[in-house]
């Protein structure tokens, strides 16, 4: 697993040097949140939709971050070099997913803060525990699916439009689960805490399925004939 950790560290170092997340993705995600509020133009409506909007903004931003994470691999055929060093593809998968998780986690913290500040959402007491659990499990799912589908379209023509077309339908169950559970954590009237925890269970199963799928699929995905 050391290999996975060093791959993650490599990705995060590149990110830190270029500051793409800070310079482009965070502003983009915040802009999306503001635009949602402008489109809905009603405070009670925005408050009710807050959880779903946070995760929708996360989904869109994930597409950007994933694209970036694989462009750095395919440029100069870096990933081939990596795999030529007899690194097991599953480790590359988990390494890249871990780096993606760290970046997305930073992003979701910003977005939840934005929901509190901009949308007037309140979180307190035991709801904080639920919120943190949801954020971690949903972000893991996003990172795993993002890494898997990022590898599917890596190096392909038109990958920037293919990635959302392929990944977003697959992320739909995650969007539903994360939104409902976050709604419970935000203290919605329509969904209680127990129900919120049940959705977290779904997110857990989802993450395990895609973790397994990704580690199995990464070998045929990264293989090259040349």
């Amino acid at each position: 697993m050391n290999v996975a950790l060093s791959i993650a560290r490599k990705d995060l170092q590149i990110e830190w040097r270029t500051r793409m997340l800070l310079a482009r993705v965070v502003p983009f995600a915040l802009l999306v949140m503001v635009l949602f509020a402008v489109a809905l133009d009603s405070e009670p409506l925005v408050l009710r939709a807050a959880a779903g909007l946070v995760w929708l903004a996360m989904l869109f931003s994930t597409m950007l971050v994933v694209q970036r994470a694989f462009d750095i691999e395919t440029a100069d055929a870096a990933i081939d070099t990596l795999l030529a060093c007899a690194v097991h593809p599953a480790r590359v998968f988990f390494g890249k997913a871990l780096a993606l998780f760290v970046q997305l986690f930073a992003l979701v913290v910003v977005l939840v803060t934005a929901a509190i500040v901009l949308y007037g959402v309140t979180v307190s007491g035991s709801r904080v525990v639920l919120l943190v659990t949801v954020v971690i499990s949903a972000t893991s799912g996003l990172a795993l699916v993002g890494t898997l589908y990022g590898a599917v379209v890596a190096n392909m023509n038109g990958r920037d439009s293919l990635l959302p077309l392929l990944a977003l339908p697959v992320l739909a169950p995650l969007l539903i689960g994360a939104s409902r559970a976050t709604e419970a954590a935000f203290g919605s009237q329509t969904i209680d805490m127990a129900n919120g925890w049940a959705w977290v269970g779904l997110l857990g199963v989802y993450g395990i399925v895609f973790g397994a799928a990704g580690s199995a699929a990464f070998s045929p995905l990264t293989e090259s004939d040349s």
Binding site: L148, L162, L166, A172, P220
Partner: protein, 257 residues
């Protein structure tokens, strides 16, 4: 498309993509489809609950069945294409042909379903788990076909689309269990559909099964032909390339002389 691709007719190329087997399948498909249409419109009675709108079901249920069959076929062929490396492209062609036909049938499932829903529920669409997950399933395979159209190394494309197909097929159980999972309204509504508690008379049931048989035959016919079609395109590319190389060779030897 390669610049070496031949476009002119070549001698000794009389056979098309049909064979005796596909002709038998084709004739059987036409006959059964004709029976289903006649039975759906004229022989079967109107349903006691749904009225005449049940006649849509004889098209809706078979298209849904074939769409699932097609997606499962795509997944199985994709699995083989990954496992049998020396025959990757052959299995990949079957997977692709089946995926195309599946997307068409799923589109028809959604269309006929929404027309039926308009008559029975009063709305074209309901945001209910089964419908929503079916829609996502459809979009997933539209994406699968989009990846297949990308002009890149065929073996790499085959591997990547195989992975997508194997992941996409996981959504089929999700469609099925979504109803249980989300405990929604569709369960009650499906009482109205032929797989529910409504007692269907024998002819209605027979027509439904005949519809499934007819559309499965159509599926088989289409997949066999379309798979051969892509095989032809691939072969033409190689044949064209061989011809171009031969031409260059003769040119060079001409210069030497």
């Amino acid at each position: 498309m390669s610049i070496y691709t031949a476009t002119a007719a070549v001698p000794g190329a009389a056979a098309r993509t049909g064979t005796r087997t596909t002709r038998v399948i084709g004739v059987l498909a036409l006959v059964t489809t004709a029976f289903v249409v006649v039975s759906a419109f004229f022989l079967t009675p109107a349903d006691s609950v749904q009225g005449d709108s049940v006649r849509i079901m004889y098209a809706h249920v078979p298209t849904a069945w074939v769409a699932y069959l097609a997606f499962i076929t795509t997944a199985v062929a994709s699995g083989f294409s990954l496992a049998r490396r020396h025959r990757t492209l052959g299995f990949d062609r079957v997977a692709g042909a089946s995926g195309e036909v599946g997307v068409l049938f799923m589109a028809m499932t959604l269309l006929t379903g929404s027309l039926w829903g308009r008559l029975t529920w009063g709305t074209f669409w309901q945001w209910d788990p089964r419908l929503t997950t079916t829609l996502f399933l459809f979009i997933t395979y539209v994406g699968y076909l989009a990846v297949r159209r990308i002009d890149t190394d065929p073996r790499q494309r085959a591997r990547r689309s195989a992975v997508i197909a194997l992941l996409a097929v996981l959504e089929i159980p999700l469609v099925h269990f979504s109803v249980v999972l989300w405990r929604s309204l569709h369960q009650e509504a499906s009482v109205l559909s032929p797989d529910g508690d409504v007692r269907l008379d024998d002819l209605m049931l027979f027509t439904l099964f005949a519809g499934v048989a007819a559309f499965t035959l159509i599926f088989a016919w289409l997949v066999i032909h379309r798979q051969r079609l892509t095989a032809l395109a691939d072969i033409r590319q190689t044949v064209g390339l061989d011809a171009a190389i031969a031409l260059r060779r003769s040119e060079t030897s001409g210069v030497v002389k």
